[in-house]
Structures are given as structure tokens and as C-alpha cells.
């Protein structure tokens, strides 16, 4: 029986190649999209799960709240780890991380700039699972000045990683570190990565009020995290007694496996993703599958009129309903299985492109070839069953005698159902188009928004060595000699690519500065050239004067701070910044962004660097001519100061742009799958139109004989479907509006959801649909009417 079914199914497909191809190819595309997205999501969900004790590892993060403000940071205070361990029996082990272990590594004559080196406790490898190629996990970081390298770095330094252990390498020329181990590179699915781990000095800790260490906990097996969490408020109240009576501190435990998708705090160790995007792409995967499935159901039911007679005959010769359903199911299952074969080829072809879009290195058969193919067949069998069931039930339910006469009973309801599906397909497609356009619009907006400073043509680099910083005045002077260099400035922080530290400030209110009335704002140390070089607007008062004796007690503030303090005439106001001592406001600058537009502009205080050692970030504005020569000049000038230094520079606009890589990738992924969805939907539309046009050949033939023009015939055929597509637009617009706003939530500064996005998305869909329709409509309308009439 099965053999017979399969044979019939195969012949059916073979006899109706166009429809079979559309069905198979559409399903294959849908399956491929589903597959790729499934890999993507699986990868996102796999973050940090490779640690053997992953289910027991938690990160402690800090929250602070006060009237009108607060902070939510990943950093914790130095003594916290020990205090928690002492207080809570649930905790088996703790580990602290300080992210600032990077710099230039020297080994013999080799020099290497490695920024992602962390300081940590020896318990690191007890908590986190990393594979040691050489050395011993428990002892590797037991002594100060030890370092464990990843394989890649070890190979860069020692050519062969086997030579690494036992060698001494130097940081900044003078800090020796003994290599005590080599581990495999950190897996890409980790919420933080590093190229090396250095041990802390003995008894290393930080000031309790300084929240700069990352703290991770390992709970004892079976210990309840809920229990621990319930004790945290009391604990943090004891640990951080609230001296001002205004700030409330609290600690939060984050399961390590949820950090990548759910944590979005300040000073994250790595680039996290938003779970929202996972939901979006997950929904897209399912929608694309549904679109493909709709094609299948649509084409099959549309063609069911052609198969009515066959079904009737089968019934007459004794087929039961069950047999008929089996017949149609097998047919769709065969289609689905063929589709899954093709999807393997498609996926192999599309994988490199998909990886380029999303910036990952996903492997097609990540879960093993056998399992993957099994899952693929499973999904396609499921699709086949769903897709085949409706037509099967529909056809097997028809009564025999009308069917033999080729009369379809209840044809209207069925046509309505089919149109409903087309409407749904187009609604999804239009929504995808509109949302992808918005993502790109937002990207364009953030890349071109006026930041309050001119980020173009500014080259920036960091001075690692304290020695060189002390001589920075000479460096600046030498650089200014070059006519292609328009300005040189230094600051205590890099801008554009990370969060700079926040500090407390108390503004003068009604003539008094209340040091307990703390606010949190950014403090940026800049020299007098910073404002002119970066072309930041000065709204009020004056800039710093270089070398002025009094300006060390002067500050500039930004508009936001002025607004927050409620100052009418800010110049001359007193303010306490950071530690004790009052400073005088000498000027107000226009608000400018120091970080990506996900972040709001906060109050900011500009101060002169206290000492030369704080001047570590150099900003050089260069002309557009002879850029190559200018950059070479900057490098050689810098090398004259420090022959050993590595000159690694960035352009400021790139620094800002790099903050949107994640969004750009999201945009690319969305666009890629939008195109796929469009292709699949159009395939379906094409087949449906081909079929209707085929059905209408006779009617069109008669009209043509009666004198209708080709144009009017095309209109007739097209108008009919366009009406339904317009309906789908009405559904798509509100849905995309909601999705757009949800996505934009992540940005503090966002582009507008303009009306033309919807119009354009609708137009694109209409044009594509119309093109698809008219190809077929013209063909049907220009066909020889006599031939068409004879074809009966």
C-alpha cells in the first residue's frame, strides 16, 4: 500500500512540476531559515553552559538607589567576596576579577599588546571550567605574579605553546610574570573572554566604596540560591551602612548562564545580547516556516479542484477516508522530505553568508550530522503532516457524485480560507520589511546624529607607559609642528567605546554646597585643548587656560548638570566633585555624547588632570590631505618618546561606530531573513496566480474574443488579488508599529517611527506582488484565445 502511495505521490509531483518545485523549494527555503536561526538561538542559549558547575555559578552585581537616580553596575566592592563567604554557608567558593590586567607583554625581543588580560584569584579554575594544555589548574594562580595564557597568546609569544610554562614574561618592561599554565582559548560562547589571567598580589583588595571588582560565587551542591537571595538585603545593609541616609544599596545574584541574554548593566565584561532579539528571530523562524507551509496548503487546496475526480473514483473503487488521507499525507511528506534534502544543500551554501551577517562562527552540523538530519526530517515530517492534513481532510470529505461532475461543494468558504492565508503571508512579509527598514534607519540615525562633538578626522591613541605620560607636553608640542595636524588634546579617558567612571558631585543650591546631597555624574579629565580640538560647543563662561594657577580648582559642566542643579547663572557656582574641597564652575559646554546612543547623556564635570600621569588618552585632529603621511608622522613622533611602545590608534568615529556592531548585525540578520520571507511568499503567490490564470484561461479567452484589451484583462486578474494584499497591509501596519517601538526601547536616543516606513514597506510589497502577478496575468491574457477555448 505504502509503495503504491509513494509511487502515486511521485507521479503527482512529476506531472505538476511547477507546483511541485514551488512547494519543494519554498519549504526548503523555510526549513533552511529555520535551521540557521535554530543554530543561532542554540548558540545564544549555550552561553556559559560549558562550565561543569554552570548551574551553581552566580555573579554578584550592585544596585544603588536614591531619590531621582541610581546605578546598576556589574562591579562590586573588593571585600565583598570574602564577606559573603564568611557569612553564608551556602557558598562553596568565590572569585574576584579585575579587568585591568592588560597591556604590552614583552618576552625577549617579542612585544605584544594584549588588552583582555584579567587579574583574578586562584579559585578561578575551581569555579570556571577551562581546559589546561599545560600546568595545573589548582596551583596555577596560587602565587602572585603568575600568569596563565591562552593557547593563541602562548603561540604568539613562544611560537609553540609547549614552551610557555616556566618562562617569565614582562608587563610594561618591569613587572615580571611567571607563566604557570596554558589553556585552550576561551570558548566564544562565554559572557566574558580573556587572553590571559594574572594572579592578584597577596591580600589584594580595594576600598570598600570602590565598586570595580567582579565577584562570582560557586554555591555548594544542593544549596538554595533563593535562600541566599532572601538574606542579601539585610547583608548589604550591614555591609554598606548608609551614611548619608539617602542611598540604598542592594546586591543581586545573576545565574552565570543568564548573563549573556538578560544582563544589561554598566561595565559589563563583554558584549551581551538582548533576549528580545532572540524572541524576534525565533518568531521570524517560525513565521518563515508558516509562510512556506501556507504556500503548500494554498497550492494544494487550489489544485484540489483538479483532483476531485481522482478522489471520487478512488472512493468508488473502495477507498476509505483513511486511505485517502494517507494518500495525500504521503504526498506532502514526500514533498517535505525532498525539501529537507534541498535545504541541506541550501544551508551549506548559505552558512558562510549567515555567519558573515551575524558575526558568529556557527557550524551547520553543530549537533552532529545524524541528529541534525534526524531533526530536519522530523521537522519536515511534521510540516508535511500539517501541510497535507488540511487538503486531505478537505478532499476526502467531498461527496462522490458532485465530485465526479467536477462540482466543488462549499467552494466559497475554501477560497476565503485561501485568501486569508495569503493575507497573513503578506502581512508578515510587510511587517518584516518595515521592521528591517526601521533598524537601518535607527542605525543611520545613531551613526550620523550630532554628538555634540565632531568625531570625524580625530585619531586617538592610548599611552600605556607612565614615563611617557610624564613627558606628554613635549609630545603635544612636537605633534603641533605638523601643519596637517589641526589640534592635539589629552584626556583621562577614552571616549566613544566604553563607559567612563562616574563620581559623586554636590552642586551649590541656594548658596550652600551640601556634601551629603550627592548626585552621580561623569567626571572627565581634559586639558585646555580638548574643547576646541573636539569642537565641543562652549555655551557660557570660558574654557580652561593652560598653565593657569587657579584653574586646577575650576571645572566646566555640561547642560544636563546645569538643568539638574537648577542653576540660573551657572558660572561662578561652587561644586564639590569626587572628594572633599570646592571647585568653581567657569563655563558650560553643550551636551556631548561620550558613549553610544543606547546611553543617555548624564550630568558631566570636566576637570583638568591632576597630574601628567592621568593624561593617557591623546586625541589628534588631522586634515583630510596627506592622511597617510600625517599618521606616519604621529607614529614616529610617539616612538621618539617611547621607542618600545606599540603604536595602536583608532579613529574616533570608528570607536563610536563599533558600538553599533551588534545593532548592525541584527539589522543584517533581519534583512537576510526578510528577503528569504519575500522570496518564499512570492513563490507562493506566483504559483497561486499561475493556477488561477490557468483556470481563467477560458474566461479570458471569451472576453478577448468579445474585444477586451490585454491591459484590461491584466487589470482584471491583478486587481482581484491586490485587493487582498491591501487588506494585509492594514494588518501589518499596527503590528510592525508595535514591534518597532519594542526594538527601539533599547536606545536612549532613537529615530522616529515615520509614516513613510509603512508606505515604503507597503509599496515594496505591492510592487513585488504586482510584478509577480502581472507576469502571469499578461501571459494568460495574451494567450491565443482560440487555443484557450479549444482546450476544453
Amino acid at each position: 500500500m505504502f509503495k503504491n502511495y509513494f509511487r502515486t505521490a511521485w507521479r503527482q509531483l512529476n506531472r505538476n512540476r511547477l507546483f511541485a518545485l514551488v512547494n519543494i523549494f519554498g519549504l526548503a527555503l523555510g526549513l533552511t531559515a529555520f535551521w540557521l536561526i535554530a543554530l543561532f538561538i542554540a548558540d545564544e542559549l549555550s552561553f556559559d553552559r560549558y562550565h561543569e558547575k554552570a548551574d551553581r555559578i552566580y555573579r554578584v552585581v550592585s544596585h544603588g538607589r536614591w531619590q531621582g537616580g541610581g546605578f546598576d553596575i556589574t562591579g562590586t566592592s573588593g571585600p565583598l567576596a570574602q564577606a559573603m563567604k564568611d557569612n553564608f554557608p551556602e557558598i562553596e567558593q568565590t572569585v574576584r576579577i579585575n579587568a585591568e590586567g592588560g597591556g604590552v607583554i614583552r618576552y625577549k625581543d617579542k612585544k605584544l599588546k594584549e588588552d583582555t588580560i584579567l587579574f583574578t584569584d586562584k579559585s578561578f579554575f575551581h569555579i570556571f571550567s577551562h581546559r589546561f594544555l599545560a600546568g595545573d589548574p589548582s596551583g596555577a594562580l596560587a602565587r602572585p605574579r603568575s600568569i596563565v595564557l591562552t593557547k593563541t597568546v602562548a603561540e604568539k609569544l613562544f611560537t609553540n605553546w609547549e614552551n610557555a610554562v616556566g618562562k617569565t614574561i614582562f608587563f610594561e618592561n618591569n613587572f615580571p610574570n611567571l607563566v604557570t599554565g596554558v589553556i585552550e582559548d576561551v570558548p566564544r560562547n562565554s559572557h566574558f573572554t580573556f587572553s590571559g589571567l594574572r594572579s592578584f598580589d597577596d591580600n589584594y583588595t580595594t576600598d570598600p566604596g570602590n565598586f570595580m571588582l567582579y565577584t562570582y560565587l560557586l554555591l555548594k551542591p544542593g544549596a538554595s540560591s533563593k535562600n541566599l537571595i532572601s538574606k542579601l538585603p539585610a547583608f548589604s545593609a550591614k555591609m554598606f551602612p548608609d551614611t548619608t541616609g539617602k542611598v540604598k544599596y542592594n546586591l543581586e545574584l545573576q545565574p552565570v548562564t543568564s548573563i549573556h541574554l538578560h544582563s544589561d548593566l554598566s561595565y559589563e565584561l563583554g558584549e551581551n545580547r538582548s533576549v528580545k532579539f532572540i524572541y524576534i528571530v525565533g518568531a521570524i523562524a517560525i513565521l518563515i516556516l508558516i509562510i512556506a507551509l501556507i504556500n503548500y496548503v494554498n497550492i494544494t487546496t487550489a489544485r484540489s479542484s483538479v483532483r476531485l475526480k481522482e478522489v471520487a473514483i478512488r472512493k468508488i473503487v473502495g477507498s476509505s477516508k483513511r486511505h485517502l488521507i494517507g494518500l495525500f499525507l504521503i504526498e506532502s511528506v514526500v514533498t517535505a522530505l525532498l525539501a529537507s534534502c534541498i535545504s541541506i544543500l541550501l544551508a551549506i551554501a548559505l552558512m558562510p553568508w549567515f555567519n558573515a551577517l551575524n558575526g558568529k562562527q556557527l557550524e551547520l552540523f553543530h549537533f552532529g550530522t545524524g541528529y541534525t538530519i534526524l531533526a530536519l526530517s522530523g521537522v519536515s515530517l511534521l510540516l508535511g503532516s500539517i501541510g497535507g492534513l488540511y487538503p486531505a481532510l478537505l478532499l476526502s470529505a467531498f461527496r462522490v457524485i458532485p465530485s465526479l461532475r467536477n462540482q466543488m461543494v462549499g467552494k466559497n468558504g475554501q477560497a476565503l480560507f485561501r485568501k486569508g492565508l495569503v493575507v497573513f503571508q503578506f502581512a508578515v512579509t510587510v511587517t518584516l520589511i518595515a521592521v528591517s527598514m526601521l533598524v537601518y534607519k535607527q542605525l543611520k540615525y545613531v551613526l550620523h546624529k550630532d554628538l555634540g562633538l565632531n568625531k570625524n578626522q580625530v585619531l586617538t591613541f592610548h599611552i600605556d607607559r607612565l614615563d611617557t605620560r610624564r613627558k606628554i607636553g613635549r609630545l603635544e608640542e612636537s605633534l603641533r609642528q605638523n601643519p596637517d595636524i589641526k589640534g592635539v588634546a589629552v584626556a583621562g579617558n577614552p571616549i566613544g567605546n566604553n563607559d567612563i567612571g562616574m563620581l559623586d558631585y554636590s552642586p551649590e543650591i541656594n548658596g550652600v554646597v551640601d556634601p551629603r546631597a550627592t548626585n552621580l555624574g561623569y567626571g572627565l579629565q581634559v586639558d585646555a585643548s580638548f574643547i576646541p580640538t573636539l569642537e565641543i560647543g562652549l555655551l557660557n563662561g570660558r574654557n580652561f587656560v593652560e598653565g593657569s594657577a587657579t584653574d586646577s580648582q575650576s571645572v566646566l559642566v555640561n547642560e544636563t548638570l546645569v538643568k539638574k542643579a537648577g542653576w540660573k547663572s551657572p558660572v561662578g557656582m561652587q561644586i564639590q566633585v569626587g572628594g572633599p574641597g570646592l571647585k568653581t564652575v567657569i563655563g558650560v559646554v553643550r551636551d556631548f555624547h561620550i558613549y553610544s546612543l543606547q546611553h543617555k547623556i548624564e550630568p558631566m564635570v570636566l576637570l583638568l588632570p591632576g597630574k601628567n600621569e592621568d593624561k593617557d588618552n591623546v586625541y589628534v585632529r588631522i586634515g583630510t590631505d596627506h592622511m597617510k603621511a600625517t599618521i606616519a608622522f604621529i607614529e614616529s613622533t610617539f616612538k621618539q618618546m617611547d621607542a618600545d611602545a606599540l603604536f595602536s590608534y583608532h579613529f574616533l568615529d570608528d570607536n563610536f561606530a563599533r558600538q553599533y556592531v551588534k545593532e548592525e548585525r541584527q539589522g543584517n540578520v533581519l534583512l537576510g531573513f526578510t528577503i528569504l520571507a519575500i522570496v518564499i511568499a512570492c513563490l507562493g503567490l506566483f504559483a497561486l496566480i499561475t493556477f488561477t490564470a490557468g483556470q481563467q484561461v477560458k474566461e479570458l479567452g471569451i472576453r478577448k474574443v468579445l474585444g477586451a484589451s490585454v491591459a484590461s484583462l491584466v487589470r482584471l486578474v491583478s486587481f482581484y488579488l491586490l485587493k487582498w494584499i491591501c487588506l494585509s497591509l492594514l494588518i501589518a501596519f499596527p503590528v510592525s508599529y508595535i514591534v518597532m517601538n519594542k526594538w527601539l526601547d533599547d536606545f536612549a536616543y532613537r529615530t522616529s517611527v515615520s509614516w513613510w516606513l509603512f508606505v515604503l514597506a507597503g509599496l515594496i510589497a505591492l510592487v513585488i506582488a504586482f510584478a509577480t502577478i502581472s507576469v502571469q496575468a499578461v501571459r494568460a491574457a495574451t494567450a491565443n484565445p482560440v487555443k484557450a477555448l479549444r482546450s476544453e
Partner: protein, 225 residues
């Protein structure tokens, strides 16, 4: 007369069109004994096909009693009725109604598949039938590759393969030339002699003569002679 195969008593079938009721069958009373060969004649639209479909249980009727081999058809459920005609009735159509996607062999084989007959037995039965109708050479062709007469032979072979007691033929020769028609009629006669009860609809007096009894339909009822 030998044993009764089926009997119709006061069968009515109608369709409602607005306020009017159109009768497709009107007070049909008919007994058919086993081994009979009955021809049904009448003008186009008089209800011949409808009658045949009702007898073949492919179509419902609205009033009356229909007994088939002792069972009251009107009291059976759809499934039971299907089981009944699957076992005892074979159909032959004017338009052959073969399945275009299947070969001659497969078309003939299909009823056996639905009866759940095992492969070796099925093969033997189909081979037998092909042999009997002299179409062994055509077994791998598709219906569209055959002439009308050949297609009808396949149709009859398919109707007979399940070993029906009753063969219902709705204008089996309507699409054939007279020579082909004659062959079919001789085949029917032979079948009838072998014990198959036959009811055929025909327009040709000559073909009707092959039967032992002729029923005339007019305007949905049996014309009294």
C-alpha cells in the same frame, strides 16, 4: 425468479429549488433478482444515472425503502454502506473514469489494495484479469495512451476484479464506436452467463436487447408499459 438481489419500494429523490421541488426520482418500485441483466432506457435527464447511483449507494434518496441482499440500505451508516458496495458492486462509467496517474495495471489493482488483499494474491488476480481482457501488452501504459474501447475494457476489468455480484454500467458504450460497443455488450453477456447481475443504462435499442428486461424511465419515474 431466483433469489432477490435488491428491491426498491416507493423511492423518491428530490432537490429543492426555491419554493419548487424538483423530483429526480419519483415513486420508483423495482425488484432485481440475482443473475438478471437489466437495461435502463429513457430520454436524457429522465433520471437514469440518478437511479443507478442510488442503486450503487453512491447517492442518497429522500424517501422509500431500498433493500440490498436483505439489508435495509436507508438504515445503514455511510461506512456500512461503503463496505457493502465495496464488496458487492462494481461500476462502469461512460467516461471510463480511470485514474490518469496510474497505469493500466495499477488502475485494475487499486480496488484490491483498498480491500487489503496481499501482494502475491493481488498479482495473480490482476494478471488473470489482464489475460481475460487481452490487455497484457498494455499493462504499463497510462490511460491517455489507450483508445476509448481499451480504456473501457480497463474500466470493466477494474469493476470486476473485486468479484462483484452486481455490475452497474452507466452508458458504458456511449463514447465508443459501434464495433467497440458490440464487443463490450458481448462481454457483458458472457459475464451475465457467469452469474454477474448487470444493470446498464443505454440509449441504444440494440444494446438494450442484450438484457433480459428493459426499464423505461420518463420524468423521474418508471414508465408503465
Amino acid at each position: 425468479m431466483d433469489t432477490m438481489l435488491l428491491s426498491l419500494r416507493g423511492i423518491y429523490k428530490w432537490v429543492n429549488t426555491g419554493i419548487n421541488r424538483t423530483f429526480l426520482l419519483k415513486d420508483i418500485n423495482l425488484d432485481i433478482g440475482e443473475g438478471e441483466f437489466v437495461s435502463v432506457m429513457g430520454p436524457s435527464g429522465s433520471g437514469k444515472s440518478t437511479l443507478l447511483n442510488v442503486i450503487g449507494m453512491l447517492d442518497d434518496f429522500d424517501e422509500g425503502a431500498y433493500h440490498f441482499m436483505g439489508d435495509a440500505v436507508q438504515g445503514l451508516r455511510e461506512k456500512q454502506r461503503a463496505a457493502l458496495y465495496k464488496q458487492y458492486i462494481g461500476f462502469v462509467f461512460q467516461a471510463y473514469h480511470l485514474i490518469d496517474e496510474l497505469t493500466v495495471y495499477e488502475n485494475i489493482e487499486t480496488p484490491l489494495l483498498y480491500k487489503g488483499i496481499k501482494t502475491p494474491e493481488r498479482k495473480a488476480m490482476v494478471a488473470d484479469m489482464l489475460d481475460r481482457f487481452n490487455i497484457v501488452g498494455k499493462k504499463d501504459l497510462f490511460p491517455t495512451q489507450l483508445s476509448g474501447g481499451q480504456q473501457q475494457l480497463v474500466g470493466i476489468a477494474r469493476a470486476l476484479i473485486g468479484g462483484p455480484k452486481l455490475l452497474l454500467a452507466d452508458e458504458p458504450t456511449g463514447n465508443l464506436n459501434s464495433k467497440q460497443g458490440e464487443e463490450i455488450m458481448e462481454l457483458f453477456q458472457q459475464l451475465n452467463r457467469d452469474g454477474v447481475t448487470i444493470i446498464q443504462v443505454t440509449h441504444s435499442e440494440k444494446n438494450a436487447e442484450y438484457g433480459s428486461r428493459i426499464i423505461h424511465l420518463l420524468d423521474a419515474h418508471v414508465e408503465k408499459k
